[in-house]
């Protein structure tokens, strides 16, 4: 299962993408509850739909586009709370840790 979090917006507007790939059974078992805890069906799937649903954007806030397997979601950062926050933060931490390990021993991330 591939999980990716793309963050756009912010005053810098420099997109950041964090990706993890759960390949082993253990990894999938670890990520599955985090992914399934998110209410995918009750939030917009695209940034455009998110902009329409969450009218009145606060200037310079981040916007998150989240993918996990077949799931898609797009949320302004103010809505990235609860299980979404767990998913976003966990993905970012795992991706950054993997990248750091890759830098250290030359292993590939993911």
């Amino acid at each position: 299962m591939k999980i990716s979090v793309e963050r756009t917006g912010g005053i810098a507007a420099i997109p950041r993408v964090w990706t993890v790939e759960a390949r082993s059974e253990t990894a999938i078992n670890q990520w599955q509850p985090i992914v399934e805890a998110c209410p995918w069906d009750s939030v917009p799937r695209t940034p455009r739909a998110a902009a329409e649903k969450f009218a009145g954007q606060q200037p310079d806030r981040f916007i998150y586009a989240i993918r996990a397997g077949q799931h898609r979601a797009a949320l302004p950062e103010q809505a990235v709370t609860g299980p979404w926050r767990v998913l976003v933060d966990s993905t970012r931490e795992a991706a950054e840790a993997s990248r750091a390990e890759g830098r250290q021993d030359g292993a590939s991330a993911g």
Binding site: I11, A12, Q58, P59, T81, G82
Partner: protein, 350 residues
């Protein structure tokens, strides 16, 4: 107006739980599910307030600023702990003192140059929160106050280091209380451009820099030394502010020929703002002297004069600046000509 947004379940506790073994994952998932109500209750970031002052009506003489700086102590709860009030001595925290000074500098530009009484034209107290979140690499205006993160230390340093960033955020407040430009597509890019223009002017005014002397950069000094870049954006040369192996290249276009169509970033509000940004720079370059004088006046009148619709396009705004230039300086004046030529150069038809 809404209340502060924060996680019902402390995110860092949840994150720690999520990193443990399978049983703990179920606990985290359960806790997360319990927090769902927060997401479900989320409706909108804020509703745009109507302009407080009828368009075109002159305001009372600007009063002194009323600044308050709070410390979020790395949490994401606003406003946080009060650390410095108006008239109090520096507290020794660079972020808090930079925010306090930046609020004052910005207030002074609007008061001295444009005769505006604070952000709303009615003496709105200026509040800012520093040390928002952990490794939070952003600054924003939440509709009521400014918020600054400390940066992640890898790409960004603290956001209060740049006066143009502080000016940028407060200008979002001015736009909110005047033209209320919609934060999407071209209107959103204009909203961003207004913040870059007046953010740059705050810095130039404080440093008494002419248009020729100014850097025309937004966010100079907030990148760490590891980043190949001078700043977030350049009004003088959009698309040249940074070019980094990790972050990529500054994506701003400098004319309509390279306008970016995208659904990301609310329709590219921080990207296509390069076009009106450069138009302002070209006017300032053409007229010489201080950019906050004639060019700033023309842009300020276009923004606050009452003729600009919330969904304004670049063309509508360009016409508003041309009308302001004509009204302020006369048809065929150097100012009017400079405005027309600038928009022509960036390929926005009047």
């Amino acid at each position: 107006m809404h209340g502060p947004f924060c996680s019902i379940v402390p995110p860092y506790m949840l994150r720690r739980l999520a990193k443990q073994g399978a049983p703990e994952f179920s606990s985290a998932a359960r806790a997360a599910r319990e927090a769902l109500g927060h997401v479900e209750s989320f409706r909108s970031a804020r509703s745009q307030p109507a302009p407080d002052i009828p368009a075109g009506v002159r305001q009372a003489k600007p009063g002194p600023p009323h600044r308050t700086v709070f410390d979020a102590n790395s949490a994401e709860i606003l406003p946080g702990t009060l650390v410095r009030k108006e008239g109090e001595a520096p507290v020794g925290d660079p972020a808090a003192d930079e925010a306090y000074d930046g609020l004052g500098h910005t207030h002074r530009l609007y008061a001295d140059v444009f005769g505006r009484n604070s952000i709303d034209g009615r003496g709105l107290p200026l509040n800012a929160t520093v040390h928002f979140g952990q490794l939070y690499d952003n600054a924003f205006w939440d509709g009521k106050q400014m918020v600054f993160g400390d940066g992640d230390g890898e790409v960004f340093e603290r956001f209060t280091k740049s006066l143009s960033v502080i000016g940028h955020e407060l200008a979002h407040g001015v736009t909110q209380y005047s033209a209320a430009l919609v934060y999407r597509n071209q209107a959103g890019a204009l909203n961003e451009s207004m913040s870059d223009v007046f953010g740059a002017l705050v810095e130039q005014y404080v440093n008494n820099q002419s248009a020729a002397e100014a850097s025309w950069l937004i966010g100079e000094g907030i990148f760490t030394p590891d980043v190949e870049g001078r700043a977030l954006r350049s009004l003088k040369a959009p698309g040249t502010a940074y070019d980094d192996d990790v972050l990529g290249k500054d994506p701003q276009p400098d004319s309509m020929d390279t306008y970016v169509r995208t659904s990301a970033d609310n329709g590219g509000v921080h990207i296509n703002s390069g076009i009106p940004n450069r138009a302002f720079y070209l006017v300032a370059e053409s007229l010489g002297g201080n950019a906050w004088d004639s060019p700033g006046r023309i842009w300020y009148e276009a923004l606050t004069g009452g003729s600009l619709p919330p969904a304004a396009t670049f063309r509508v705004f360009a016409r508003a600046t041309a009308a302001s230039a004509m009204e302020l300086f006369g048809s065929g004046s150097p100012e009017h000509d400079a405005v027309q030529l600038a928009w022509e150069t960036v390929k926005v038809k009047l």
